[in-house]
């Protein structure tokens, strides 16, 4: 294995992990505010189709990415209206959001199937991008890779270093007390849900503008669910989301390489490896029960009605 190949493998891993990280970091903020939005898959797939459509119609992948974000936000507002304003059951609402997203995206995307997509241009810096081993890895990736890392750092800072972040976490732990203190619980939660929608939409746009620049019905193929699982995996801690997303991506790509090398392990087992690895690590890190309990938002998925 030469240096170039190693770099290519790492690049493929980064591309496979980025949409998971984007969607998961958004959902992490949502859940930290005490809301469980199971509609990530639906918002992602809508983001994918609108991202593709935006790029295809205007010719600019950047407008496509914005369209993906906007579509995710719009769908998340629907969830917000039902689950927050009308205090419906969050699990059922989130599930139906996913179904809605998949159906709606199929309808919107009908005219875009099989059309050649437009890729978000990769970063290309003179000299730096051509450095051996790390050049392309650090300075030659698609823009959404940098966005995903920056976003994770920003969320980490926001949640644990700012007053607003502290307020958001307190709402997630006990919305009644927060309400009694005069905090506008619903406003915070709406904003968190919209942020989650924006991230899921962008993650979807990553699929249709970077990962595989085309529109294929149902192209998220369950990645929204994996993002949801990663939030639990990370025990609601942003830096662990990066670890989880890259572990999942690395095992996914690693098993493909192992297969292509002809290593005699049954391919079904190989395909299950990313999931198995994630479960194993989840079990290992949740051995410390106290830490898990501290990190879990205590009012997660409980409906909140201000006048109660």
């Amino acid at each position: 294995m030469d240096v170039n190949m190693l770099q290519n493998i790492l690049l493929t891993i980064a591309t496979a992990s980025t949409p998971l990280l984007l969607a998961a970091i958004g959902e992490l903020v949502v859940e930290r505010s005490g809301v469980l939005n199971l509609g990530v898959e639906g918002m992602m797939v809508i983001g994918a189709v609108c991202g593709f459509a935006g790029a295809f119609i205007t010719g600019s992948p950047w407008i496509g990415a914005l369209a993906g974000i906007l579509a995710g936000v719009l769908l998340s507002l629907l969830f917000g209206f039902l689950a927050l304003s009308l205090a419906t059951n969050q699990v059922a609402t989130g599930l139906s959001l996913t179904l809605l997203g998949i159906g709606l995206s199929g309808m919107i995307g009908e005219d875009f199937v099989g059309r050649a997509g437009i890729r978000l241009p990769r970063l290309d810096l003179p000299v730096l991008s051509d450095l051996p081993l790390v050049g392309k890895l650090l300075f030659g990736q698609d823009p959404l890779f940098y966005v995903s890392i920056a976003l994770t750092a920003a969320v980490m800072w926001f949640l644990f270093k700012t007053r607003t972040g502290l307020t958001l976490r307190s709402i997630g732990d006990n919305h009644k007390s927060a309400h009694a203190l005069g905090i506008n619980v619903l406003l915070y939660r709406y904003l968190a849900v919209m942020f989650g929608g924006a991230c899921a939409g962008l993650a979807g746009a990553h699929l249709s503008l970077v990962y595989t620049p085309q529109w294929v019905e149902n192209m998220t193929a369950g990645r929204g669910w994996i993002a949801l699982a990663l939030v639990v995996f990370a025990s609601w801690r942003p830096w662990r989301v990066i670890g989880g997303a890259y572990l999942f991506g690395a095992v996914t790509i690693g098993q493909i390489h192992a297969q292509a090398l002809g290593i005699p392990i049954p391919s079904q087992l190989m395909s299950a490896l990313p999931y198995l690895a994630t479960i194993v690590v989840l079990v290992l890190i949740s051995r410390d029960r106290r830490l898990t309990v501290i990190n879990t938002p205590a009012s997660l998925a409980q409906p909140f009605v201000p006048d109660r």
């Binding site: 099989g114 990962y211 079904q268 395909s271």
Partner: protein
């Protein structure tokens, strides 16, 4: 969780279709059950274009209906039952995994005719039909053997069923007919349709030095990777030249339309019989090759000649001597493979660099 969702989705799809299917019961009704979306740009779209061809050809005499995105397994049994009960006279079930559900539903609905694609079981009111995809795979293998510089191709495979194994073997036979040392790397993605996984597999294979990509999955993602990395690829089921204007050398096109028209006409005039198996190939037009492009003229001429020889019956892609992967003899000199062996193929031929999953 995902399974429940799929079931829910299928349920909703069922509810949606049954609403529109309640009129004109006296017309002959032909129904189709699809594994993917009708716009998948591959397998399912080829079947649905054939359905539209049936409507064009038979016009007012018939009506058609279809269910898309029906997962294999128990969900498909519900979907097929729904079709049988909604007044369909003949039901085409178009994925390998619908085989047992089709047989089960057919037993309960003896008045309905069923045709299952790519399987091997039949019954009094069930036939199966298939196309000799391996003929096309042999041709693309031969092209690969000619134009590859690294002498290695990557094969993105879905599930280890006989159909897919047969395709892998045929491709390698074709490639080895011109380059006896040709190598094949196989990656199983365990999905028919996951653009992301297919792209991951394609990138991994290119990173490992293949300069030919071919696939037995349904999306155009590998073609896109081939185009981007400047290597060669072949379209699957459908012309994918928009995704790979220079990468696509040719494509194996499924052309089910004429077969469907023929069978529906037989069903209408009472000559349709259960228990039959149809396995047509290039010569019957159920398979066609997309134009040979982006290759030297002599390679193109060779491909055209091979296609003509397969059509005339002069050449069978599986003609001995061929050994199995473990080196034991499968076909002796001059012997050709029997259809039964091919349809149940559960072994690799010599030279495949992969362990066949069970």
């Amino acid at each position: 969780m995902r399974k429940t969702l799929l079931a829910l989705a299928a349920g909703i799809a069922l509810a949606a279709t049954s609403g529109g299917a309640a009129f004109a019961q006296d017309k002959f009704k032909a129904c189709f059950v699809y594994i993917g979306p009708v716009t998948d740009g591959g397998w399912t779209q080829a079947h649905d274009e054939a359905r539209q061809y049936v409507e064009e050809q038979l016009g007012d005499e018939i009506e058609t209906a279809y269910l898309e995105n029906v997962p294999e397994g128990p969900d498909s049994e519900r979907a097929i039952t729904r079709m049988a009960r909604s007044g369909c006279n003949i039901v085409f079930t178009t994925s390998f995994g619908y085989m047992d559900p089709t047989i089960a539903v057919a037993e309960k609905h003896p008045d309905v005719m069923f045709e299952h694609a790519t399987g091997y079981k039949t019954a009094d009111n069930v036939t199966n039909y298939n196309a000799r995809f391996y003929e096309g795979r042999y041709i693309i293998g031969q092209i690969a053997g000619n134009i590859s510089e690294t002498g290695t191709a990557g094969y993105i495979a879905s599930f280890p069923i006989p159909e897919v194994v047969m395709g892998i073997n045929a491709f390698l036979q074709g490639a080895r007919s011109v380059d006896p040392d040709f190598k094949l790397k196989v990656v199983w993605v365990n999905s028919w349709h996951d653009a992301g996984k297919e792209a991951d597999a394609a990138k991994a294979l290119v990173d490992q030095g293949v300069d030919i990509l071919t696939q037995h999955t349904d999306s155009a993602a590998p073609m896109q990777v081939a185009e981007e990395r400047g290597i060669h690829a072949f379209g699957q089921a459908f012309d994918q030249s928009e995704a790979g204007p220079t990468a696509q050398k040719t494509a194996i096109l499924d052309t089910w339309g004429p077969y469907y028209v023929k069978r529906i006409k037989m069903a209408m005039d009472g000559t349709w019989k259960g228990g039959e198996s149809t396995w047509d190939g290039l010569k019957d037009g159920i398979l066609t090759m997309a134009p040979y492009r982006n290759m030297p003229d002599d390679v193109k001429a060779m491909a055209e000649e091979t296609e003509a020889k397969i059509k005339s019956g002069e050449l069978h892609p599986f003609t001995g001597p061929i050994n199995k992967q473990d080196g034991t003899e499968w076909l002796a000199e001059g012997e050709t493979a029997e259809d039964g062996t091919l349809l149940g193929m559960d072994f690799y031929v010599e030279g495949v660099d992969d362990t066949l999953p069970n």
